[in-house]
């Protein structure tokens, strides 16, 4: 029988690299999001050209983050891909169903406050996190 590899494999190193890359892209996206959001009021006093540039940069980095996430998912092993798929399905489903129900509550004035899109993203993020946690427990 062939000798076992003693060091971590190329696959493990590649996964670690993909995770790190996704982390960098996500951090860059969050920072540019904050700049595009708070910059007009606190940094460049509502200069429209600068605001558009900040939003375009945020958008471009957002696409980079999407590609990094795709690469990260493709690099995972099959069990972790399954966990991610189930967590994303849960997050998308809950986001769609609860988000639209919440929107209906706002449109029909059953709730007195405005339904904000940021609240939907928080819900989806929490649902996704819970889905990954449940998946990891399921296969432990």
């Amino acid at each position: 029988m062939s000798k076992l590899k003693t060091d971590s494999s190329d696959w493990a190193a590649n996964t670690a690299r993909n995770t790190k890359r996704l982390g960098y892209w996500t951090a860059a996206w969050v920072v540019t999001m904050a700049i595009a959001n708070f910059g007009p009021r606190f940094i460049w006093q509502l200069n429209e050209s600068l605001t558009i540039i900040a939003i375009l940069i945020n958008l471009a980095i957002g696409f980079g983050m999407i590609m990094a996430n795709k690469q990260h998912l493709k690099g995972l092993d099959e069990m972790h891909q399954k966990i991610q798929l189930e967590a994303m399905a849960l997050s998308l489903g809950v986001g769609l169903v609860v988000g639209l129900a919440y929107s209906n509550l706002d449109v029909t004035n059953i709730i007195t406050f405005d339904a904000e899109i940021s609240q939907l993203f928080i819900l989806m993020g929490l649902t996704y996190g819970a889905g990954v946690f449940a998946g990891l427990r399921k296969f432990r």
Binding site: K5, A12, D77, M79
Partner: protein
């Protein structure tokens, strides 16, 4: 699906981490397969069979058929 992965690994005195490196999956995935909580894909089952130099059915057995 039942499997003999844990027995085969123990016979060779390999750790889950070593087997995971060979199969190019995480240690958690090896653990889940050994416990029967996760069924591997056909390519991964073939990879395990090649590694242990056995036929797939010598490692993995369909519980419904037994």
């Amino acid at each position: 699906m039942k499997n003999r992965l844990k027995v085969l690994r123990a016979e060779r005195d390999w750790t889950q981490a070593q087997l995971a490196i060979e199969l190019e999956v995480s240690r958690q995935t090896v653990n889940a397969i050994e416990k029967g909580k996760f069924d591997p894909s056909l390519p991964l089952a073939f990879k395990a069979a090649r590694l242990f130099r056995l036929a797939i059915e010598d490692i993995f057995q369909d519980e419904a058929a037994s």
